[in-house]
Amino acid sequence: MAISNIQLRLRDLSRIRLALALVMLLLAAPVPGLAEPHTMVIGYLGQQRTPPLPLGPLDQTVTDDGLQGARLGIGDDAGAGRFLGQQFRLQQVILKFGETPAEAIKEFAAAGISFVVADLDALQLLQASAAPGAERMTLFNSRAPDDRLRQEDCRRNVLHTIPSHAMLADALAQYLVWKRWQHWFLLVGPHPQDQAMAAAFRRAATRFGAEITVDQPWTFRPANGRADTGHVTLQTEIPAATQVSDYDVLVIADEADEFGAYLEGRTALPRPVAGTQGLVATGWSAVNEEWGATQLQDRFHKLAGRWMLPSDYAAWLAVKSVGEAATRLHSLDPTAIGNYLRSDDFLLAGFKGQGLSFRPWDGQMRQPILIAGPRLLVSSSPQPGFLHQRSTLDTLGIDLEESTCKF
């Protein structure tokens, strides 16, 4: 009995050795993606940014927005993965000023990475999507709202989790029209991004029956509001800048957050402020605690020590999408996941009251857009009464029939 036991053990040992050798062989094999068969490595590609100057003492300077959202997504993916034998890991590269993304994409490709959170501006995003190796990847645009990335500059290997300018503008327009604030004073900042946002507001006004009664560029350069008597200058300059014929609501296009915040409470006529400041349309806001969002906000705050920003949320959506697909498929196979993400069956829970999915015509994630005040959630679009033949979420942004995207 004892002898046979020992024999058994010896036989087991040799089996184990054989198995170990096989594993070693697999590990040594330079086949990308096979190195860790139960691990999904997701790339995060960010870029160095100059943080905006804080307008007021309560503004926080954030340097890790986007990245922290991706990190939270990895944690949430792992939560499901631990019951399914799936592990998730983030591999991050932050581009320095002036650096192009080609090298990072090459590095990701060498590591067998198939899914990348592209937390990049439009130019860098297009460069990344065209870099050698990227053709076998899915890049998630978690930063650039530019409509052209969903239209003439759309790419087959890019999905967009950040809402487009058109979606944000449509969401706000629906709310303003629902409120019957139909006459808008559009005030547009000097940067190309402000012009792009303004174009989306003009399109939305036409779509939903609002009228832009005054359309004006912002040309003032108010003195620094944080100077000791800064408010005195602003108090005289802003009424002058807003001395226009009557309107219902002031709509601001100021993506860089340079002047929009100065308008509230200072306009010549007593009118509400909306747009990129005041009542904002956004993919995410720290004020959202509905649809179970409290838990997401709490998890994020614990991780990052600050509130979750729209770019964090978009990066979280990207990483969570990969996790959701891996869960549903019981597989980490990148081809299967890539196909599933783009299929009709894919539906992600995003703490905004209904399932989120990707539009097949331009890769944009369809999602409700929050209408948020500075302290509380005001509404969520689509608004009741705006109907659509397929999904009411497609009343926001560029619809199938309007799409000029050709992959």
Partner: protein
């Protein structure tokens, strides 16, 4: 005339005997529990409780109502005779839903923020154990024999089966996106779990844990994303299941044998949870967005009344 009066009187008496019960509704936004007389279908009382009351359950002797208070991290105990809070239990962080174990001594609580199920000893007022589950645990159920506790985790899309004696995880079953409620059939053979985002209920064989069916709820005139499945209650004979369909403003009546949806009841806005009267003839839904409860007469298959009870009605419990 006299015959008519006698008839009406006898009907009233019959109605009373069939509904001599009290309905308790947690008002998530008012921090209260509404007390509704079942016979007259009127609001009788409102009990102040802690912040954000959601899940509720009766003690086995039906003398105490437990109320989970998410923002106060505790469970209040309401003495139903006195209609006031007489004690508190710890619950772990952010309790949302819980079940009273058939042993009458323990509560199993879903801690939504901590990915835990906490086990609370009622007499000792102590958390005596925790179980690690998926992200955002929510729905809780316990089998009639007390052996198995089920807990859904919303962000992990699973139902976790817990051995109630050893507190070990027995199994983790994948459910459609964002599972909410779980319910065992009275004979313990089936486990039902709802999915909010997909608007489905998945049915498992509780013994083999194999999926035996799935109901994809559809409401005429409402798009897929507007049909979401939330609370589930099963009739005592196990023949019917009632599923709240959230933003579709409907309660579905499902034949548990064929899984066919027999009827859709139009109730108030965004029903979260439902409860059955003791005689199984009446169903009550707590409608979160319209601030009311709906009374459904199941024999005649009609909604007979809606009653305002407060802001954000979430769960409903029927007691003596």
């Amino acid at each position: 005339m006299q015959v008519l009066i006698a008839l009406v009187l006898s009907m009233l008496i019959l109605a009373r005997s069939a509904s001599a019960e009290t309905i308790y509704v947690s008002n998530e936004q008012d921090n209260t529990v509404a007390v509704v007389d079942g016979a007259t279908m009127t609001l009788q009382d409102t009990i102040e409780v802690g912040r954000r009351p959601r899940g509720m359950a009766l003690s086995i002797d039906k003398k105490t109502l437990f109320v989970a208070e998410g923002d106060d991290n505790r469970i209040d105990m309401i003495d139903l005779a006195r209609r006031q809070v007489v004690g508190r239990l710890p619950s772990g962080a952010d309790p949302e839903f819980f079940v009273v174990h058939p042993d009458g001594k323990r509560l199993f609580v879903a801690n939504e923020n901590d990915n835990l199920v906490s086990v609370v000893d009622i007499a000792a007022a102590k958390v005596i154990g925790t179980v690690d589950v998926g992200v955002e645990p929510e729905g809780m159920a316990v089998s009639a024999d007390g052996r198995t506790v089920a807990c859904t985790s919303e962000t992990t899309s699973m139902v976790h089966l817990i051995d109630a004696a050893t507190l070990e995880l027995i199994d983790n079953l994948l459910i459609d996106t964002r599972p909410r409620a779980a319910a065992f059939s009275p004979d313990g053979k089936q486990l039902w779990v709802s999915s909010e985002i997909r608007g489905t209920a998945t049915v498992f064989d509780a013994a083999t844990r194999a999926q035996t069916g799935k109901i994809e709820f559809e409401v005429p005139g409402i798009r897929r994303e507007g049909v979401q499945a939330v609370g589930i209650v099963m009739s005592r004979d196990g023949a019917n299941a009632y599923v709240a369909l959230g933003p579709a403003n409907r309660i579905a009546e499902v034949d548990t044998k064929t899984l066919a949806v027999r009827h859709l009841y139009l109730v108030g806005q965004r029903p979260w949870h439902v409860a059955l009267s003791d005689d199984q003839k009446r169903l009550i839904s707590a409608n979160g967005n319209s601030g009311d409860i709906s009374f459904i007469d199941l024999e005649n298959q009609e909604v007979v009344k809606s009653l305002p009870v407060g802001r954000g009605p979430w769960s409903v419990v029927i007691g003596p």
